[in-house]
């Protein structure tokens, strides 16, 4: 348990992706089964433990310490799970004889939780003070903890939790509380954990994703395969995820080497990539990384009465004409369940562009044109409100396509896709068969307002920038923050901005500096972004998608930076 706790502690504070991967992979390498598999399950959100409410945690701790002292502690720390893990009486209960006699708690908690009778430094004893029935248990494993929590009934859950906390050390207590309060929230996605697992082999992460839905914690057969001790696990699940084929962006000089006659073009729609799989009565809607998102889209799942695996773009609206914005789609994302009202207001559908499997036959080895022919026939038989066909865009040459890309017929189009006619469907991002050619990004001239220090290689540089645009009446303009960006500039430009920040600091708040930014003085940044969403969380009312610094405008006076109205106009 202590090794898992240490892993969480390190992950919380490690900002770099590579650093996190290394920590997780090393953990998988060092820790044996089943603990490492349970750690993997915890990181990927696959661990099934009945959750404990914050109010119950508070009750448990208030039975063990003076509520006033707890109040001071909670005020100082700010996070309930962390406070409880820190103040929980230490194992051992060896009150010092030199200490004054301990007070007893003023009352015993009613209900089903047993109250420790031992003295505590939180009531009056000294070091230790925990339940004397328990000694610190350095050997308690994650498997012990998970087994105890999973076998606990609703009524004895709090008592089981308290018993575990009584035996654990500080970091382990924090980890246990994180496990039972649901959601580790330590900045590690399921995808990252799978990548770390793939690094253990090493194998391609696509292989892990393909297998994932047939496996269950603690994944012993998966680890055995990755360590070369056993064959690859058989794909056991019905309706498995198939690793998706990804495209490369068109870069300078790419197109002149290609013959337009070898490629088909489609619009690139601004939704999310999904895979709709229905096989043997099992229906699943997967995200592009293989996460099962079926729960949020019962309307789509209900219409999946076929035996096939479809690749397409999830959008909201009523096809083929009404296609909602990404903002609309966001109303439906990241939900476990979705109300009927929400489904009616934001109906979801899939705009299909590929067919991977049909009636038990794998089509991925066929050429694009072949698959497309099957797809067109197949789509015709589906519910047109839930599935439509991504149309092909006819074009004669790159110049004509460029014109069409710059002025697409629909606002939800963010560019064009190019697909080589003879290409099979390949997992990953092979260079050549598929390209994305995005519409040029939007840009806005904004003024640098705050800068935050980076991490790792950038830890002595102010490298994360919050920028704003002008709002308010003429003569009373003020800057309102509209976004934050931390890339897009060269190393040389980073040095220049860093110097500007240091020379123009007005205030410091920990790692953040506010810099001089008024009508006459300040640094104008040209910020590129992919789109805007409405936001109730930001004062400006807008949130940028994928913002990055595209140019430094040392030449431009801050007063000439853009106004908020320029951005608001993009919303509609």
């Amino acid at each position: 348990m202590n090794r898992f706790a240490e892993l969480l502690d390190r992950l919380v504070l490690t900002p770099s992706r590579n650093g996190k991967l290394k920590l997780i992979t090393d953990h998988f390498r060092a820790v044996e089964d089943p603990d490492r598999g349970l750690a993997l399950a915890a990181l990927t959100g696959e661990l099934d433990i009945a959750s404990v409410k914050p109010a119950m945690l508070r009750q448990l701790v208030s039975e063990r310490m003076d509520p006033v002292l707890f109040g001071y502690s909670y005020d100082y720390v700010g996070d309930l799970a962390e406070t409880v893990s820190l103040v929980w009486p230490e194992p051992g209960g060896n009150a010092s004889p030199a200490a004054p006699p301990p007070l007893t708690p003023p009352h015993k908690g009613e209900g089903d939780v047993s109250v420790s009778e031992s003295p505590s430094p939180l009531w009056g004893g000294v070091r230790g003070g925990g339940n004397p029935a328990y000694k610190p248990n350095h050997d308690i494993t994650l498997a012990d903890v998970v087994a105890a929590l999973q076998s606990a009934s609703r009524s004895d859950g709090p008592a089981v939790l308290a018993r575990l906390l009584d035996q654990a050390e500080t970091s382990a207590r924090f980890a246990i509380i994180k496990l039972v309060t649901g959601g580790l929230r330590i900045g590690v996605s399921a995808r990252l954990a799978k990548q770390a697992l793939a690094d253990l082999g090493p194998v391609d992460v696509a292989e892990i994703e393909e297998l994932w839905h047939g496996l269950a914690p603690p994944y012993a057969d998966l680890f055995a395969w990755l360590e070369g001790k056993a064959p690859k696990p058989e794909q056991a699940a019905k309706a498995p995820f198939r690793p998706v084929m990804l495209s490369n962006p068109v870069s300078e000089g790419d197109l002149e080497k290609l013959d337009p006659a070898d490629y088909a073009a489609e619009w690139k729609w601004d939704g999310i990539r999904v895979q709709a799989v229905s096989e043997g009565g099992v229906r699943r809607l997967y995200s592009r990384t293989g996460d099962d998102v079926s729960g949020a889209f019962p309307d789509v799942v209900a219409a999946m009465d076929f035996e096939a695996a479809l690749d397409g773009e999830l959008l909201v609206g009523v096809p083929p004409e009404a296609t909602g914005t990404f903002s609309d789609l966001q109303q439906r994302l990241n939900r476990k369940t979705v109300s009927a009202k929400m489904q009616a207001q934001y109906p979801a559908f899939v705009r299909c562009y590929d067919l991977l499997q049909l009636n038990g036959e794998d089509l991925r080895g066929l050429a694009f044109t072949e698959r497309r022919r099957h797809l067109e026939t197949f789509i015709a038989a589906l519910d047109p409100d839930r599935f439509d066909l991504s149309p092909l865009v006819a074009f004669d040459g790159w110049t004509q396509l460029e014109d069409m890309r710059s002025a697409p017929p629909h606002p939800i189009i963010e560019g064009v896709m190019l697909k080589r006619l003879d290409s099979p469907y390949l997992a990953g991002r092979p260079k050549g068969p598929w390209f994305k050619w995005k519409r040029d990004p939007h840009t806005v001239d904004a003024v640098l307002m705050y800068a935050q220090r980076g991490h790792g290689k950038r830890s002595s540089f102010y490298s994360d920038y919050t920028f704003g645009v002008w709002s308010g009446a003429e003569g009373a303009e003020e800057l309102v923050p509209v976004g934050k960006a931390y890339f897009g500039f060269t190393d040389e430009e980073l040095k220049q901005i860093d110097k500007f920040v240091r020379d123009n600091t007005i205030e410091r708040f920990g790692p953040v500096r506010s810099v001089r930014a008024d009508r006459a003085n300040g640094l104008v940044l040209e910020v590129a972004f992919e789109g805007l969403n409405r936001s109730t969380r930001h004062k400006s009312g807008v949130a940028m998608r994928f913002p990055r610094i595209s140019r430094l405008r040392w030449d431009k006076p801050p007063a000439e930076a853009d106004r908020i109205e320029t951005l608001q106009a993009l919303l509609d």
Binding site: S73, L122, V126
Partner: protein
């Protein structure tokens, strides 16, 4: 005499009228008794200063040889008569030379702890319990959330990380007096025998510790020879944490920020400071040490100063000990 007539706060600091002296005054005074060399306790400009030999040496290093009109070194345990009172210096276990100061008048004894810790520290003499009527305790970490783990376990984390990320320089933020040297000594105790690189701000005090018999091993200045950053890959570099934000830190390859401090117990605190590897190593008492020490002194009354006074006062109330906050101003959470 009532306790508060023997010692009470004034704007200059804690004053003793019958002895006519101040303890750790924050402004220049005629006579000052100094508990230890941290800059919020040991300020220059007093006419006469009484302190341990080590504290006087440290003040001379930090403030210049002429930091006071005259100085007098006091040995640990030695009794000195000042006016109507007898004062004594007793090891506080905080940093090299740190002392608690006992002030006795007839049958009444007050002990001012200065900053202190109970955990073992190979770089300074360990805390001695001095029985007293009134104990003036610091309260830097006086909340039940602060329980410092064994320091060697924390050093183990640092060594493990240096092994796990051999391409990164491990920058350890540590206060220049006491913490930095303790971290070095703990590294040596765990068998780390490579050179430890140090920031210039730490060099003179580390030399002084070495001259006092604290062996810190091979220390090298953290300067770039021939501009080769890779020299520092996997190295351990000790610096005041303020240096991390400085351009100074750019000489290291992909630095990993560690910080040795009792504050590192709180994850948010580490996160906000951009610390990747928190090392909970403190030169102050944690909650359990504070409450245990109060009990061991047998004091019937406790005065609480600089830190989270309210929690310790509350604990004393729960335990039937008279307690009040002292409201001294001018002491920061420095030195940890």
């Amino acid at each position: 005499m009532r306790a508060r007539d023997l010692l009470h706060p004034r704007p200059e600091g804690l004053y003793c009228p019958p002895g006519d002296f101040y303890i750790d005054p924050v402004r220049a005074v005629e006579r000052a008794l100094i508990t230890h060399g941290h800059s919020d306790h040991a300020r220059p400009g007093h006419a006469r200063v009484l302190a341990t030999r080590e504290t006087l040496d440290i003040m001379a290093i930090r403030c210049g040889a002429d930091f006071a009109g005259s100085t007098q070194a006091v040995a640990m345990g030695e009794k000195i008569r000042l006016g109507d009172v007898t004062v004594g210096f007793h090891p506080a276990g905080h940093v090299l030379g740190s002392a608690q100061i006992s002030v006795q008048h007839n049958g009444l004894r007050i002990v001012a702890s200065g900053d202190y810790k109970r955990a073992s520290d190979p770089t300074c003499a360990g805390f001695e319990v001095v029985p007293c009527d009134v104990f003036i305790t610091e309260a830097t970490f006086a909340l039940p959330v602060f329980r410092h783990p064994d320091a060697s376990q924390e050093i183990g984390k640092l060594l493990k990380s240096a092994q796990q990320f051999p391409e990164r320089a491990h920058l350890v933020g540590a206060y220049a007096l006491g913490k930095a040297q303790r971290v070095m000594r703990l590294l040596r105790d765990q068998g780390y025998d490579k050179p430890i690189y140090i920031h210039g701000a730490i060099a003179r005090l580390s030399e002084y510790y070495q001259s006092q018999g604290v062996d810190l091993g091979n220390l090298q200045p953290a300067t770039v020879e021939d501009g080769d950053r890779s020299d520092f890959a996997g190295a351990i570099v000790i610096a005041p944490s303020s240096a991390f934000a400085d351009r100074w830190a750019r000489r290291f390859p992909d630095p990993l920020a560690a910080f040795a401090s009792g504050w590192m117990r709180i994850r948010q605190r580490a996160k906000q400071g951009g610390v990747e590897l928190p090392l909970i190593i403190s030169d102050h008492s944690d909650w359990d040490e504070l409450t245990a020490t109060i009990g061991e002194t047998g004091a019937g009354e406790v005065w609480v100063t600089h830190g989270r006074e309210e929690a310790l006062v509350r604990w004393c109330e729960l335990n039937g000990i008279a307690a009040r906050p002292l409201h001294l101003v001018g002491y920061e959470d420095e030195g940890d």
